[in-house]
């Protein structure tokens, strides 16, 4: 395209305004400040693209880890059911599955890990040390991430069944009795009144918050029905 009109130095030809811009006029020296602007725009574009990639990567990584780990843990759980104890899902893990939690109505099936520190919660819901074993007498507290494993807690309703498979293969069935929001320092949630068979599921609140680390927790309480069956 080399019409006269597309002369790079002129925006008009013989007093007539040209169709603009001229696509092949890159190499004509533009004023200095325009070049700087142009370069910074390119730099911004490149940086934003990189940032976008890395952020998506991190978000994806969190979900990928949560998902991949559960697969590995399922194998460790099979060994646990077969009689081994404290089976590590991968050789250097510092946690192990202690129970399998399922909510049949929601199609949820999760392996619960020992310990509720950030390290193990990334891989699965964690059983809080010092509370009763899942399925055992007392109050068993399990924490999980509201945006990965425990996202379903937002939708559960009172009366729904929660099943806990213990390392012995026995299954304890609980019914959800209560959902509430508490402050993270409200350790009354961890208390174990005598003669209770309780399962307490804890996750962060609100569910749609962007960042982790808020002070509120969503607590779902379920009481055992008493009936235990062997698989």
């Amino acid at each position: 395209m080399s019409t006269v009109c597309h002369n790079c130095s002129h925006h008009e030809f013989l007093g007539v305004e040209c169709a603009w811009p001229a696509p092949t006029c890159r190499d004509v020296a533009a004023p200095r400040h325009q070049r700087i602007v142009a370069w910074s725009i390119k730099a911004i574009a490149a940086v934003s693209l990189l940032v976008a990639l890395s952020q998506f990567g991190q978000a994806g990584y969190i979900h990928a880890k949560a998902w991949l780990a559960q697969t590995l843990i399922s194998q460790a759980w099979q060994k646990t059911l077969a009689g081994a104890s404290q089976v590590k899902p991968w050789p250097w893990a510092d946690t192990w599955p202690v129970a399998r939690l399922s909510v049949p109505a929601r199609g949820v099936e999760l392996y619960v890990l020992a310990g509720s520190q950030g390290r193990s919660l990334a891989f699965g819901p964690g059983h809080v040390f010092g509370t009763a074993d899942p399925g055992a007498l007392g109050n068993s507290v399990i924490g999980g991430h509201r945006d990965t494993h425990f996202a379903f807690l937002e939708w559960v309703q009172a009366g729904e069944a929660v099943e806990v498979e213990m390392p012995t293969g026995e299954v304890a069935v609980y019914r959800i009795t209560d959902q509430r929001v508490v402050d993270k320092s409200d350790t009354g949630v961890l208390a174990s009144p005598p003669d209770t068979h309780r399962l307490t599921l804890v996750t962060c609140y609100p569910f749609d918050a962007l960042r982790a680390g808020g002070p509120l927790r969503y607590v779902v309480t379920a009481e055992q029905l008493g009936a235990s069956e062997t698989l």
């Binding site: 007539v16 305004e17 811009p21 890159r26 533009a30 602007v37 142009a38 370069w39 725009i41 390119k42 911004i44 574009a45 934003s48 976008a52 990639l53 952020q55 998506f56 990567g57 991190q58 978000a59 994806g60 990584y61 969190i62 979900h63 990928a64 880890k65 949560a66 991949l68 780990a69 590995l72 104890s85 404290q86 991968w90 250097w92 510092d94 020992a114 310990g115 509720s116 520190q117 040390f129 010092g130 009763a132 074993d133 924490g143 991430h145 509201r146 945006d147 990965t148 993270k184 320092s185 961890l190 208390a191 804890v202 996750t203 918050a209 962007l210 960042r211 982790a212 808020g214 927790r217």
Partner: protein
Amino acid sequence: MTPAPLGLRDRAREVAELLARLLLMFITGLGVSLALGAVVLLLAGPAQAASREDGSVQQGTLLFRGADGGDPVAAPLLHTDVTLRVSGPIVRAKVVQRFRNPADDWREGTYVFPLPENAAVDRMRIQVADRVIEGEIQARAQAQATYEKAKAEGKATALVSQERPNIFTTRVANIGPRDEIRVEIEYQHTLDYAVAEGVGRYSLRFPMVVAPRYIPGKVIADEESGATTGTDVVPDAAAILPPMMLPDEAGPIINPVSLNVYLDAGVPIASVDSPFHRVRVDTLKPSVRRIRLSEGRTPANRDFVLNWTLAAGTAPSATLFVEPGKDRDHALLMLVPPAPSAVGKRLPREVVYIIDTSGSMEGESIVQAREALAMALARLDAEDRFNVIEFNSTASALYTSAQPASRANVDHAVRWVQRLRANGGTEMAGALALALDGGRNADRVRQIVFLTDGAVGNEAQLFGMIQQRLGDSRLFTVGIGSAPNSHFMRKAAQAGRGTFTYIGKIEEVRARMSELFTKLESPVVKGLTITWPSGARADASPDPLPDLYLGEPVVVAAAIDRTVGGEVRLSGDAGDIRWTSSLALGDANPGEGMGVLWARQKIDHWMDTLADGADEAVVRKQVLALALEFQLVSKFTSFVAVDKTPARSADARLQSGAVPGHFPAGWSPSGVVGELPQGATDARWHLLLGLMALAAFFLTRTPRVRQLSMKG
């Protein structure tokens, strides 16, 4: 003519392109993340090399809430005035607890408080209005009954009992409306003394706060009331965990302490230092100081420590006190053996470091511990071997077995240590089981350096375990934080035949750890024996004498028959030479309260035999006899005082409350009281940031901006 508008087709193409790009980006992101996930899962965290393989993980309780005593709101207010009189190596203390009732009803208060772990509490009295009533030592259950009876009869009464050698409880009943009852407690103990490079250094510690402690075991509840009293491992947990005011709910100082020290060192003092409280020091004489807290009333949230060094060349190397008694005299001997000379070839060491990463260490403590450990690792020689164990609810070791302290290994360990975070329970038994193998090996010196705040309630169980599994290892405890459980530290070190070092703040880490390492690297004074003059029929404690580390004095308390004179002779092996020191009984300084110190040591000795599996009934009988004779508070005896005049009429109600304590300074409440697990990730945040960056990218691709960028 204006620029030609884009056609509909072009616009559609633009949108399609944008969508395609978005999709591509998403797929790339997902791919990258999956790959990253897989890589990290496969490679990350090789640090966890080993963990406790034996047995299952024990479950414990993070914290008991509301010990007996009930509602803190109903508790009387409390002020504590402390006067400490130091003379030479001994301190005599008077603690006055003023319980004031701010309301118009009648009140009962319970206050759980700490005292030094070797305090011999030998006097108690109460003051009601202008009447002073001397307390009386009774067997624990009997004292309790006396108190309950007086309480029911409406008489002003107080009971002081011991829950642990360093935790006591005062109960005061029938404090009248807007009235006050003063409870005075007196005790005595010997000071910590060490000689380093010819300079004598004393250390005095007055604990101010009972830190929350981890209680392992299964919870047991009282059958009648249903209240939780303890666990199968720590049955009296409720008694050692007073209600606690967290920093944000305490508001003003809830139980202020005023403190005065009258310090008479006997010899000129070079320097006085209070590392944790600001003090005013008045010099009365070269050897006498008066020390007061400069802020007057201070919250009882961290231990008060006072160190003083003696002028060079004046450090006493031997002191003997004798107090004439009714039947027998009592003597206290303190002697620093000559520094041992190095013997032969230095044996390679195997050092196992244990670091407590439980919730109570969260805050300043874990920082101090990490720092101390990094320093300790740097001190290792290439021919030494080492390992690091961390524990909270479970214990895990850096290496499956001790590794040579090569540069690479040490660097690896330091990095591992820097990553440690504190949370969870304090299951010490697991860590001790990993570290103490019970083995004996003459070719190496095996030392265990244990960094902890000792915030546990199952001390007795752990001492037993240390004794059984020690073998030829030596256990050195390093107390961390503003209020470590020094009873545990000292006794664990004693059971482990090592020493106890206390680090109270980060600035002290370097100095204290160097001191400890000088001790670890120096030969030990062994085979100490003491010979009393014939006919003295000495009953001395401790017996046999422990090995001593560099600069440590041997402290012996004894009951002896009155003898005309003669010499006490002390000898031991210092390196390859045997030395002997002797002191004439006739030259002894007159001392006060030596009998009490002796009785306290004997009681300690009897209580220690419990860890060896001695019969509790026998121990009880011995301790009871000693405690009643010397008027001492012990596990089996309590002080009780009753005002004879009834004050409260039978129809006025008595409100009971437990006086709350402060939370230890520098501790992090979330680490101890526990927090509900954090249930969220930053995935969404990353997604948002990603979207924003993506939007910014597309902004640079709009035709307008693109055109600008074309001009480059």
